[in-house]
Structure formats: structure tokens, C-alpha cells
């Protein structure tokens, strides 16, 4: 029996499979989608407080068991959020989880003729460089791995998904490249802005784009509409400089010369005192902003959260 939501009939038949559903973003997406149609979650973590109508399978996406999930439910779309970003995971684990896991997922998408695949990539695949144009379009080269090797997995995933455009044209593949996502999520930019005082690099104050996690969820919802395919840069409210963002948060800012910051962070990283890999410092030094015109025109996406709401969201849910 396939549950069909009352609102849009046959177009909504089938379930949305979300990998990495137990992450904070995954949970929010699940909450947004489960009212519209069936949702199937895949994650190796448990999902303790899940809504009752969500089917959750606690499996590793590299395992054969994933196939059972595809077999058991009529999957109309796959949303891949399960990209491992933990900078502390070993490089081998990282790579096999991300690349081998995603390859498995693609295999089943092909085999079960899933009509829609959405990958949540990141604007970080372009990488912060001094020679970046102020607004990178979707065609810009993915140079993020030039100085920061941990992002190479994500670039590889992005490329794998891109190859799907011609390998499996009947599946509508959507790659979303959002800018820094802020909110209760535990990602590098949110963790960075939760610090007090916030470190900035002396003599640098780059322009940045941030977006609220709720806006990311909306962008994914829009990407799930039938007929949408392609690569989209997604950005939130208007860009702001790092110092303006810190001012909105009302935190102290300490500016440290680049050489010192780099040396200290490298040392702290090797002593496991910080979760920020040293090459990520470039994000508070150079611009990595995107041109989101395509998302606004084709996807019909416009951020609902203001700059203040977006920035202040990093402090929500803390106690």
C-alpha cells in the first residue's frame, strides 16, 4: 500500500529517502517532508525522537542492507545528506564512507529507477582563494581541494553526481551548493560563530554569505519538485562582512595576524584541542561567495530568513 497525500495526488506517490537523517539538518528536513508524503530515513545513528510515520533504518550506506530499503519502499526521490564532514574521522574512513557509500547509493538509484536524486554539496567546493571573482557561478572550477584536502571527498561526490546528468538522464539529478549554513547544526561555520570571543585575521574582513538551516530545507523541498534538475548555488540573505556578522551576534572579536593564527591552530589541531582544520582559516581571509541567480530563477528559491535571523540562529537551542 502506498500512502498518497491528499494535496497533490499521484505526483507525490512514493517515499523520499533521506540519508544522514539523524543529523540536525536531516531531522529538520524529515519534519518538513513527512507531512507531505512518506519519508524513509537511512543513517547508521539511531533516531530516538522520530515522528511515527517516518521509517528509519539504522544501516551503513556502504552495506548491502541499503538495497532492502530501496526494495521495501517505493522510493520517488533520494536526498543525500549523509556526507561525512567530521574532520577528525580518519582519511580512509572518510573516503570510503563518502565515495564508496555514495557510489552504492547511485547504483541503487540506477537499479530502482528512482526519478529524483538530490545531493547537498556545498559552496565550499569552490574554495576561498584570493583570485576568486566576487560571485562564483556554477561553472566555476571546484578548486576547494587545492589547499584543503578534506573537502576533496565532497568534490568527488559532486563530480559523481554531475556524471549522472548524462549517465542516467531519466533521473532528475539536482546538486545544491549552499553557502555557509547557520543554525543549530554542528558544522564548521556555526561552531565557529558560537565561539566567544570570535577570532578574525588581522587586516582581513572578507564578505561572506550565510544561510539559515530552514532556508536550506526549503531549497531541498523546491529541488524535489518534478522537472527540476541541474546544479544550483544557493545563498541566503544579502552578503555581509565577517565583522558585521560578529557585531550582530554581539560577541567580542579578537584579530590575530595570519601567521600566528595558523601556527596556533595547527598546533592545537595536532593536540586535538580544536575541531578546525588549519586550512579552513582561509574562509575568514578570502572570499568564497556564489552567484545564486540560477537558484532564484529556475528553482524559485528566495531566502525567507533575514541576515539577523540567520546569524542569531547559531545560538538557538543552547542552554
Amino acid at each position: 500500500m502506498t500512502p498518497v497525500s491528499a494535496s497533490d495526488g499521484a505526483a507525490r506517490a512514493g517515499a523520499v529517502l533521506i540519508t544522514g537523517i539523524c543529523g540536525r539538518l536531516g531531522k529538520q528536513l524529515a519534519r518538513a517532508l513527512h507531512r507531505q508524503g512518506p519519508v524513509v530515513g537511512v543513517d547508521r545513528r539511531p533516531f530516538p525522537d522520530k515522528p511515527k510515520d517516518i521509517l528509519h533504518s539504522q544501516v551503513d550506506i556502504r552495506r548491502k542492507k541499503l538495497k532492502d530499503v530501496f526494495r521495501a519502499s517505493d522510493v520517488r526521490a533520494v536526498v543525500h545528506l549523509g556526507v561525512l564532514h567530521d574532520p577528525r574521522a580518519s582519511a580512509a574512513d572518510h573516503h570510503s564512507w563518502n565515495v564508496a557509500g555514495f557510489a552504492k547509493l547511485l547504483e541503487y538509484v540506477t537499479q530502482f529507477r528512482v526519478p529524483k536524486l538530490v545531493l547537498l554539496s556545498s559552496a565550499n567546493v569552490y574554495g576561498p582563494q584570493p583570485s576568486n571573482p566576487q560571485f562564483l557561478t556554477e561553472d566555476a572550477p571546484l578548486l576547494g581541494g587545492q589547499n584543503f584536502s578534506d573537502i576533496r571527498d565532497l568534490i568527488e561526490l559532486d563530480m559523481l553526481a554531475q556524471s549522472f546528468f548524462w549517465k542516467l538522464p531519466e533521473t532528475e539529478t539536482v546538486i545544491l551548493r549552499p553557502v555557509h549554513i547557520l543554525g543549530t547544526v554542528h558544522n564548521a561555520p556555526s561552531n565557529f560563530l558560537r565561539k566567544d570571543p570570535i577570532v578574525s585575521i588581522l587586516g582581513f574582513d572578507p564578505m561572506m554569505q550565510v544561510m539559515h538551516q530552514a532556508d536550506v530545507v526549503r531549497a531541498i523541498e523546491l529541488a524535489l519538485r518534478p522537472g527540476v534538475r541541474g546544479v544550483f548555488n544557493v545563498a541566503g540573505p544579502e552578503p555581509a562582512s565577517l565583522s558585521q556578522i560578529i557585531k550582530i551576534l554581539g560577541r567580542q572579536k579578537i584579530s590575530i595576524p595570519y601567521g600566528v593564527t595558523r601556527a596556533v591552530v595547527s598546533r592545537m589541531w595536532s593536540w586535538r584541542l580544536t575541531s578546525f582544520p588549519p586550512p579552513e582559516i582561509d574562509h575568514i581571509r578570502y572570499v568564497c561567495m556564489v552567484d545564486d541567480r540560477r537558484a532564484r530563477q529556475t528553482l524559485g528559491f528566495a531566502a525567507r530568513m533575514s541576515l539577523e535571523q540567520t546569524v542569531l540562529a547559531v545560538d538557538e537551542g543552547r542552554w
Partner: protein
Amino acid sequence: MRGVAPSLTALTRISAFARAAPAFFRGLSGAAEDAVEAGLRRVLGESFADKMSRVPLTLGPTGIDAFGLDPHWARPAFLAVALLHRKYFRTEVHGIENVPHGRVLLVANHAGQIPLDGALIAAAMFMDAEPPRLVRAMVEKWAVGLPFVSMLFARVGQVVGVPENATRLLLQEEALLVFPEGVRGVAKTFEHRYELADFGSGFMRLAVETRSPIVPVAVVGAEEQYISVANFEGLAKLLGMPAFPIVPQILLPGGLFPLPTRYRLWFGEPMRFSGDPDEDDAVVEEKVWLVRQTVQAMLATALEQRKHVFW
């Protein structure tokens, strides 16, 4: 016991100072801000806010544009350039009414070891044109990696020199200043003054693509501000710098400052080009040559009319 009392009073004194210090510095920076405001009012003849309100700009709600331009933050820099323009170099401006409204490419000769010519063209467009314009210029990628410099450039409206940025600014109807000679021009040695180096052709493709008029600008005065006798290109490359000029005058007291030559800026009639932005180099070169000849001819006339380098 006796030792404790003085150290206690010292502590209270220190803590009193620490409590008063922020207010003191706030007062100091407030006073500095007032001085900048007053200086700007004197040199502009009106308040900075009034002047800015007439500048066609696309600032976001945060008062800063997407490229990082922040006029309010950059007021001290504007004041410094305004003083250079009016008092130090006493710039003469000719033909600024030729600059059309909306998108425009200002193409100028480049010289003088440090790009003061760009700053003075921008000052002329802000202070002498009506409505005032904020000129955007492109900076070397090399400068973007320098602390403070990169921040200052962004706040006064300079952007990284890549074609995507230039196209976007022109499509936003901004005035864009380009020096097609690039570093070859700035690093010119003294005996080559007022000889234009080769022009790159990127600006022409940009103008054709965005249908922007080109206003040729001749800058007289920059070429004598620092007398460079040689440029050590090998050493520059080694240090990762665009040029390494040898300027003997810096050994003299106050020699770090440029010589107070009198600047003359000549804005020519707008030139309009059409065609295909991707056409053959040979075709583009011809149009580039036309602009280069115009600037060279304007330089020749301007030099002829100049009575003296310093006044």
C-alpha cells in the same frame, strides 16, 4: 601588612583605569570621527552624507555593497585622497562632463610606481563630477593576499581583477576604471615617461560585451612623482612582487612621499565600439589601438599645454 595597602591602591587605580579606558578610547575615536567629518565637509563643500546621497549606488541594507564597499567606513580614506587631490597635487580636471551617466569604462595611462593616479581619477569623479560617482577599479590578485591592504581596497570599492567582476560591475551601471597597461605602466622608468606601454585587450572585449562606452583619460603628473631609474624584474619575481623599482629619492628626508607634481586629468569624448566580444585578436587589437592612440594624442596635447611640472 604595610606592603598590602599600596598594592591595593594600585589595584584599585588600575581597575578604575580599566573601567574608564573604553570610554576614553570611545571618546577619542568619536573625536577623530568628528574631525574626519569636519575635514570632509570643508574639502567637499557639503557634508559627506549629502554628497553620498547623490551617488548612484546599490548598497545593501547593511550599508555595504556585495563587493565590500563601505563608504561610511572608508571616510578617513576619502578624506586623505581628497586632500591629496586638492592640496598636495592640486589637480586640474578637464572635460569631466564628457563622462556619460550609467555604465562607463574609464581607460587611462598608468604610471608613478604607486597607483595614485587611480585614486586621483576617483577623487575627481567624486568631487568634480555631477552627479558624483564612485569609481570602481580592479586590483592585482597579489594585493588581495596582503593584510589591511586587501581590506582597505575592498572598503573603498576596489575589486579583484578578474573579468567576471568587471562584467558584473558594468551591468550594475557602475563606472569602472581600467589601466590597460597594467604593471608595465606603473613600473615604467623615468626615461620612458609618457610613452604608453602595450595595452591589453581585455578591456575592449569587456566594453563590447557589455556595450559600455569608453572614456579615454590622460593623466599628466603621475609620471614624475617618483623618479625610477631601474626596475629589477628578476628580484621582483623572486619576492613575488609585481615590480621592484629603484627610486633614489626615497633616501632623502621625506623622500618616501611622492614629489608634489601638479596633476592634470583630461577626460576625452566617449568612444563606443560594437561587434562580437569573441572576435579575432587582430580585429580587437585594431580597436584597442584606436583607444591607445587617443590617449597618447591627449597626453601630447596636455603636455604641450603644461607650463611646469610643479605648478
